[in-house]
């Protein structure tokens, strides 16, 4: 994603705990029922960036005349990869929830092709993570959709440790 900085610029104070090991983050994402329903898999994850993939599935079509996947598949992929990359930068055990997600649909997905989504944390503050993402088939520079998203950090939301630790302030509602 050449139009965005290569790494998050964290202004959060140094945390005694680093992010969860990437293997743990990938394993936890593999247990999410909706991600399993879409057959999502993590292709790569590094600190502040990552890629996931989902195969084409006729059961997920939104336009039956054209065979194009439903926008909800793109939304789920982008929300999931955004959550994944947020976990790669926040302290292990901290929770997160999507505050908002804005998606521009640039062109229809091609029927029959697997869909990828790549996310990048552009800024991390103590309470909020800012993420950009794009959905594409093979070439990230030929995107189907791009998005900006913000995530609450330390809200009632998802954790990679699954212990529900976090502020529990009830803000944020997305779950990936």
């Amino acid at each position: 994603m050449p139009d965005t900085p290569p790494a998050p610029r964290g202004s959060a104070p140094p945390s005694p705990r680093g992010p969860a090991p990437f293997a743990d983050i990938i394993r936890v994402f593999g247990t999410i029922p909706h991600c399993r329903a879409l057959n999502m898999a993590v292709e790569d994850v590094a600190r502040g960036e990552g890629t996931i993939i989902a195969p084409y599935d006729p059961a997920l079509v939104g336009n039956p005349d054209r065979g194009v996947l439903h926008g909800g598949v793109v939304t789920a992929l982008l929300d999931t990869v955004a959550g994944l990359v947020v976990f790669s930068v926040i302290p292990e055990g901290a929770s997160t929830a999507t505050l908002d997600l804005r998606i521009d649909y640039l062109k229809p997905a091609t029927p029959g092709l697997a869909l990828r989504a790549r996310g990048l944390v552009t800024k991390l503050t103590p309470s909020v993570a800012f993420v950009r993402g794009r959905a594409f088939h093979e070439d990230p520079d030929d995107p189907i959709a791009h998005c900006t998203a913000t995530f609450m950090v330390g809200s009632t939301g998802f954790t990679t440790s699954g212990n529900g630790e976090g502020g529990g302030n009830g803000e944020g509602g997305g779950t990936a």
């Binding site: 039956p64 439903h70 804005r102 939301g157 997305g174």
Partner: protein, 152 residues
């Protein structure tokens, strides 16, 4: 498959024709594979059309809370916006979404979710729609969105 033997796998154009005939917009959700897969349907109440996501285990995004995945809520809002557009105006083709901005307001629990859309502006080529989704009470929305669609 045509006519009475069509069990819901027909084309969108066929579903649209059936909706124009009998006014039942559920023909459209039944024609959309994604909507069938994740339990999207529609109802009518005193205020008009409601798009409903019947709860399915496969929509869970957080098993600890538990809560419905943000992607499914986004899909419901997008679906509701499309259906409300079709319901309120004569369109001959599925409106194509240009963009959507979703605000996630509360965790959505493992139960049915309802959504209602409002066409804010309908131009010649573009429509702007706002949508809210809720579970227990309409004044406690779990998510809200605004979206632009290309018509025709």
């Amino acid at each position: 498959m045509t006519g009475d033997t069509d069990t819901g796998t027909g084309t969108f154009a066929g579903a649209l024709a059936r909706f124009r005939q009998d006014g039942d917009i559920c023909h459209l959700t039944q024609a959309i594979p994604y909507a069938r897969t994740f339990g999207f349907t529609c109802e009518t109440d005193a205020q008009g059309l409601l798009t409903v996501a019947r709860f399915r285990d496969t929509t869970i995004g957080n098993t600890i809370l538990p809560a419905i995945h943000g992607g499914v809520l986004g899909a419901l809002l997008e679906q509701a916006a499309t259906l409300h557009l079709i319901n309120e105006m004569r369109v001959e083709a599925l409106p194509r979404i240009i963009n959507i901005s979703v605000d996630y307001l509360r965790p959505a629990g493992p139960r049915d979710t309802f959504a209602r859309g409002r066409v804010i502006k309908q131009g010649r080529r573009i429509a702007n729609v706002r949508v809210e989704a809720w579970q227990d009470r309409p004044d406690k929305p779990v998510a809200a969105a605004h979206a632009h669609f290309l018509l025709g």
